[in-house]
Amino acid sequence: MVKKQPEDVAMNGDGAIAYAWKQIDPDVCAAYPITPQTIIVEDFSKYVADGAVKTEFVTVESEHSALTLCAASCSAGARTFTATASQGLAYMWEMLPITSSMRVPVVMAVANRAVSGPININNDHGDAMAARDTGWLQLFAYNVQSSYDNAIIAPRIAEHPDVQLPILTNLDGFILTHAVERMTPMDTEDVKKFVGEFKPVCPLLDFDKPTCHGMLDGPDYYYAHKYQQAVAFDRALEVAEEVFREFKELTGREYKLVDEYRCDDADYIAIILGSSYGTMQETVDRMRDAGMKVGVATTHVYRPWPEKELERVMKGKKAVAVFDKHLSLGAYGPLYPEVVAAAIDLDEIPKMYNFIYGIGGADVGVSLLMEAMEKVVDGTADKLNYVGLKI
């Protein structure tokens, strides 16, 4: 039985994350401004200034130092959060795999923004995709509510004793970071209880048991340590499902590894990330009204990659359209090959299409998505398609 939830509030995505962090009250937060993330650290710094949190708030001189400070602080035994976007995430890149290999559950919100150049502050997924292979768990939000919920769910997955990996919570720049939506917060007491006390593993500041963090590995140990990370990623799938179940019991809000909309009886489905999941739902409704059996699914949990769930969603479909807000130049969008790999064990493999869209903030409207999906239904789409490209 879900208890009564607090009154709904109007918030933008950044503000919702800062509010979730206030409720969690981490030990340490490193902050460096970058559009469109900045509201998170601005709002949070106000909570610090008002004494609403106990957090040590460090205004570092760069994103590289932001993530360094987080990795070290978390290794030392403190629950540690930060936020960034685009160039900031790129500047952190060196520290991304290091943080993961140190097995510290740092939580980082990423306000997804195109990566320079040319310089562009608008939304796409180039930043998160460039961080894909660095050993971070990744969640994608699709509205302000899920941006808030992911912020509360993330530490639970990352800090699980079997996981101990850092986590990115993605939300689309401007579309979610700055747009005000109605959402239902949780009681602070419930958030604190749900997230729980931080229980560091072998913290640096345990002087009775001195430990070494970040040592040099030869080839054998390096490979073995990477494998241990891979095992933790596999385990994170089950952990995420357990955490989602618990979250639903508490709030009534249901999340899955792969969230889906009208997929059950669909012949054609789209697979899409982030806020476009909502736009595609509207597209699906209109196409259903016109008699086309379409649906949409989103990998809410993007890392670890929920391959089995995707396989189940794609089973029996005639075609799958994979929408990518990033392009691996000279190849495909990054989602496409992984979705294809998830489909190859099916007895009948659907037709697989790739649609590049929304690059550098290019407009993503229902009409554009509908045009793309109609080509999927009538089989006239190319293997690789560019949606809304103006030349």
Partner: protein, 313 residues
């Protein structure tokens, strides 16, 4: 100040058996620094010789907690641990007073890590940053850094038919650190353990960030016999190439041999005395490079005079 015998009886933080070269000054100097505090200590290491040689998994030379993340961010790493400590201490989850120190080479300090170092010093983390300055990127095979002195032959500033080695003077990093208005900054040398241990203690005891820049001869890079390390370090001080001084809350004071030279109790030796001990300057003994040696001497004298003015104001 403790006696050498008393210091030798203190718990060993960095054990023997590490993989640094014979004659390397880094562990000698680091051990002197580590004697500067008896509080619980966390050691942070920037990538470099000192790091790779003391933390080869599954072995460690450290009897105290150690953390390493990357090359250009030792100051941010150390600051991260200090921040966690501050938070946990305020919450009553840690009781004891703890010291934090980051060791980094000159490449990690003067070059790639300067931004992170500047940030950490400006923010006032209560930590010590120690530069193990061997005046080049020794871990990657003796490439020039902005700490390399003029005239040195390195693998990226080689002496040749038309080159006298590194063309530029080295950066005055200690002055840059002093400009951060930190409570304690100093230059030290492993040949004078007493001076170094006393400076380390002041750094650890001060209420804020501290910085110690140590000259640490590298037998491989400086082309010196491994039993001459201490002698070469001493000569750097006696020639005023590497003056010993400290800056406490902005007040400059020369120490040890440098103080005696300034007071006229000892002679400043010519830079040639230092140059001739090292293979990296071997080409400078050729007649055609005499003007370079003159320039080097002039630069040493200019810096020395400037320092004396600062210390006697």
């Amino acid at each position: 100040m403790s006696t050498l015998k008393e210091l030798s009886e203190l718990p060993v933080k960095l054990t023997s058996g590490h993989r640094l070269c014979a004659g390397c000054a880094e562990p000698i100097f680091a051990k002197q620094i580590l004697l500067g505090t008896q509080r619980p200590l966390v050691v942070s290491l920037s990538t470099g010789c000192f790091e790779v040689s003391t933390t080869v998994y599954p072995y460690s030379s450290w009897n105290v907690p150690m953390i390493h993340t990357a090359f250009g961010n030792g100051a941010a790493t150390c600051a991260g641990v200090e921040t966690a400590y501050k938070s946990l201490k305020r919450q009553g989850k840690i009781k004891e007073d703890v010291n934090f120190v980051n060791f980094a080479g000159d490449g990690a300090t003067y070059d790639i890590g300067l931004q992170a170092l500047s940030g950490a010093m400006e923010r006032g983390h209560k930590m010590m940053y120690v530069c193990l300055n061997n005046e080049a990127y020794m871990n990657t095979g003796i490439q020039r850094s902005s700490a390399t002195v003029m005239g040195a032959d390195t693998t990226t500033s080689p002496a040749g038919l038309e080159s006298s080695g590194k063309k530029e003077f080295s950066k005055d990093l200690t002055a840059i650190m002093v400009a951060h208005n930190i409570p304690y900054a100093a230059q030290a040398s492993p040949h004078n353990w007493k001076d170094t241990v006393s400076k380390a203690k002041k750094g650890f005891d001060c209420d804020g960030p501290s910085f110690i820049n140590g000259i640490v001869p590298c037998p491989r890079g400086w082309r010196t016999p491994s039993d001459k390390t201490i002698e070469v370090a001493r000569l750097a001080v006696e020639t005023c190439v590497w003056p010993l001084y400290e800056v406490v809350d902005g007040e400059y004071a020369l120490t040890a041999e440098s103080e005696r030279i300034a007071d006229g109790k000892a002679e400043q030796k010519p830079i040639t005395d230092w140059i001739k001990t090292q293979g990296r300057f071997k080409h400078l003994t050729e007649e055609r490079w005499a003007p370079v040696v003159e320039d080097m001497q002039k630069q040493v004298d200019r810096n020395w005079e400037k320092l004396i003015k600062l210390a006697t104001n």
